[in-house]
């Protein structure tokens, strides 16, 4: 697959509306009530090997809703070789779910054969850019579709970096034709942690390449913010979302909630708030107070992703 200079919005992918990340705790509700959700995003690794209930549930959901695949273990930035068995399973899963697109993160999850199951940041320089460009091309050739890559939340910066994260993402898109999954919360988290301006981050991205938005809650630790996906979206992130919507003209929007997960209606209602923010002005801005209503559990804040489906036994 070669690079393209097409300005077709979203790489030509459809605007799916407002979706929710599929989580096992919501299986019974979704199957029973068939809620009017526009689409679901699945964690690819939870289903690519499944021959049990998760796969059975996904079959039913994929029949009724558009499904997008979101991975956490592609490790596109790792210097380990790409895992071809993983890619084969990813492709097979995409075929039978008819995934509208496949996404992962601009990150690495481990090296020397180990997987830390974390989304670790890259230094942003020519070496890492060329490395990721080559691997994205390889993956896209294999999957026979453009990859969509997300900006991760990060907690460190490297002295080896010679460019900004947004310049890195822009160059990656230009060279490979891949798309971007703009996680608005991650922009807020990373910019707070690195003393950067989130508005500059979002304004500097190639907006025609943005295929999807992510929204989520986080945990503010005073000196830094951790991307915990365990709460409502905060007002400042909604403000960033409004800007991103304005700059892109609107793209598929999805809410992630991975810890302290409330009932499905609450999660769905949270993503639907996006509609109110899309055209909000300072005069008619929605009053968002939910952000303060859920207290995080008294446990150590752990950045997502952690994704494990427990067995159901009699």
């Amino acid at each position: 697959m070669t690079a393209t200079n097409s300005l077709t919005p979203r790489l030509g992918y459809p605007h799916l509306g407002f979706g929710v990340g599929l989580r096992a705790t919501h299986y019974p509700y979704i199957l029973e009530h068939e809620p009017a959700v526009d689409w679901f995003e699945i964690i690819s690794e939870n289903y690519m090997d499944s021959q049990g209930r998760p796969r059975y549930v996904l079959e039913q959901i994929a029949e009724r809703y558009p499904v997008v695949m979101h991975g956490v273990s592609l490790s596109i930035g790792s210097t380990d070789p790409l895992n071809l068995e993983y890619l084969a399973r990813l492709k097979r899963l995409a075929a039978w779910t008819q995934a509208v697109w496949i996404s992962d993160h601009i990150c690495w999850t481990g090296v020397n054969g180990v997987n830390g199951h974390d989304l670790l940041p890259l230094p942003y320089n020519d070496e890492s850019l060329n490395h990721v460009i080559a691997r994205v091309r390889q993956v896209q050739d294999y999957l026979e579709r453009p990859l969509v890559l997300e900006n991760p939340s990060s907690y460190v910066t490297f002295r080896e970096s010679t460019m900004t994260e947004w310049d890195f993402a822009t160059s990656l898109c230009e060279a490979t034709g891949c798309g971007l999954l703009l996680d608005v919360n991650n922009v807020f988290v990373s910019c707070f942690n690195h003393d950067l301006d989130p508005l500059e981050f979002i304004r500097s991205l190639p907006h025609d390449r943005i295929v999807q938005f992510h929204l989520a809650g986080h945990t503010h630790c005073g000196t830094h913010i951790i991307d915990t996906h365990d709460n409502f979206v905060i007002d400042q992130v909604w403000e960033l979302f409004r800007l991103a919507h304005e700059l892109t003209g609107g793209v598929s929007t999805l809410l992630e909630w991975d810890a302290n997960i409330p009932d499905f209606k609450t999660v769905h209602a949270e993503v639907l708030k996006a509609r109110d923010f899309m055209h909000a002005t300072p005069m008619n801005r929605p009053q968002v107070t939910e952000s303060l209503k859920i207290e995080p559990q008294r446990r150590r804040a752990v950045p997502q992703p952690a994704s494990f489906i427990t067995a159901e036994a009699e």
Binding site: Y56, H117, L120, E160, A306
Partner: protein
């Protein structure tokens, strides 16, 4: 510093069991980047609020916390019996011995029962609490594998079909149903070989660990008394996407083992009779038990032995 060196260094630092400073000073990290704690800012920049070591600690704290959380979700009964602190201590040791090398967290707990077996305190007589822990871990891991592994329920995916039914047909087996079973003549019955469901597992336990696990699930975190030792032969399988388990007798267990090894029904019954002569059921009970196994889909195919 190359990208590979940087990644190898960072991984050595944030996964070090004694924390970031120990990680920076470790031989593994020093081999990739000979940087001291004092000079760490030559690799990791500081922010206005946090120093470089503190920033790395976000990843360091998360590494073990995330994986321990996952282990706890897969082994809730082990965690309940040990208590959170002891579970985390053992889990911490396990993660150092068996770091994840898979793209999926489903593999994280695969070696946990064996790790408990290998690290069992030798000065504690068996069977006692370490064996209960090992039994619980074995059953919980089996539940995970049976729950998400290949089963007998129809799935749309052609690969699933090929891995179960196509292999069965290729090996000369026919689908086994109660009707098919009834149609087999009595003269042929002893000669049949059976194909077990791919999700069928046989477990030999020192404790009825499955009862503790079920009681814990029903109790919603209320106190559950651990069971006393009692030799238990457990069959685990899956039906309608839910993991099922049954306790069987010594004789039944021996029959099942022989059938799984490929013996014909008559040979399996003879093997079991020799092995469990003190536990022989009546022929009526044998027939009823066998029909029950077929009805429960423990066996899904049959063919006449040569």
């Amino acid at each position: 510093m190359t990208l590979h060196s940087l990644q190898s260094w960072m991984q050595a630092v944030v996964t070090h069991p004694s924390g970031i400073v120990a990680g920076i000073n470790s031989d593994a990290a020093q081999a990739w980047a000979g940087v001291s704690v004092e000079n760490i800012e030559s690799i990791i920049g500081r922010s206005q609020s946090l120093g470089s070591v503190e920033r790395l600690a976000v990843y360091g704290n998360a590494y073990f916390a995330r994986l321990l959380e996952c282990l706890g979700e897969e082994f809730p009964a082990v965690k309940q019996l040990l208590g959170e602190d002891a579970f985390n201590t053992i889990g911490f040791q396990y993660l150092q011995a068996c770091p994840s090398r898979s793209y999926t967290l489903n593999e994280l707990g695969r070696s946990f029962p064996n790790f408990l077996r290998e690290t069992r305190p030798q000065d504690v007589p068996a069977p006692s609490w370490p064996d209960l822990l090992i039994n619980l871990a074995t059953v919980e891991r089996t539940y995970s594998e049976v729950f998400d592994g290949t089963g007998i329920e129809p799935l749309d995916d052609a690969d699933a079909d090929s891995s179960t039914w196509a292999k069965l047909l290729a090996a000369g087996f026919r689908a086994l149903t109660p009707d098919e079973l009834a149609a087999i003549g009595p003269e042929d019955m002893g000669a049949i070989q059976l194909q077990a469901a791919p999700c069928l597992r046989l477990l030999t336990l020192d404790f009825p660990a499955h009862e503790f696990i079920s009681a814990l699930r029903r109790s919603e975190n209320a106190e559950v008394t651990p069971p006393p030792a009692q030799p238990t032969l457990l069959v685990v399988t899956r039906r309608d996407f839910v993991v099922r388990r049954s306790v069987v007798s010594k004789f039944e267990f021996a029959v099942l083992q022989a059938l799984l090894a490929g013996e014909s029904l008559s040979a399996a019954l003879q093997t079991a009779a020799d092995f469990a002569s003190d536990d022989l059921p009546s022929s009526t009970n044998i027939a009823a038990g066998f029909e029950g196994w077929v009805k429960a889909r423990w066996f899904i195919g049959f063919k006449l032995a040569n």
